[in-house]
Symmetry: C2
Subunit: 86 residues, 2 copies
């Protein structure tokens, strides 16, 4: 399944979440990750993510799609660093 | 076509972009909008958006999908205000 993850995280936790998310998905833009994951990887990511964020302050929005988007475009500054996969 | 828009806008322009985007799509989370648009509406939105943002500072990421996502879930705080459509 293909996933787009958009998070809204308190400043003090952003770096930790950024580092964590890079192990699973590609960084696209500030607070946006995307990529393909197996069901097992997806479940694992969510379990671990719950432990990293503050469930009462932070918000992680996850879109699941059967297939990748048709098109992705940027208006303004391109901030893609898809190559930065650990 | 179904669209997900994620923007990263300088503080001084965020409210203006927020107000503008609500005329086209549904607010989902801080800096995230989504919804169905015709090709004409989509092109119009992009032309007007280019005039509102600063192309050298701001970044608007637009995903186009043939059909809506399969699932959308939130970990942490649910910030959806889909009802706030003007």
């Amino acid at each position: 399944m293909y996933y787009i993850v958009v998070y809204d995280i308190a400043e003090k936790r952003v770096n930790k979440v950024l580092k964590f998310m890079r192990k699973y998905l590609n960084w696209v833009q500030n607070s946006v990750f995307e990529g393909e994951l197996s069901d097992g990887q997806f479940e694992e990511m969510k379990v671990k993510l719950r432990k990293i964020i503050n469930l009462n302050e932070d918000s992680v929005l996850i879109y699941s799609m059967e297939k990748k988007w048709v098109d992705r475009e940027v208006i303004g500054v391109e901030r893609s660093e898809v190559s930065r996969i650990i």
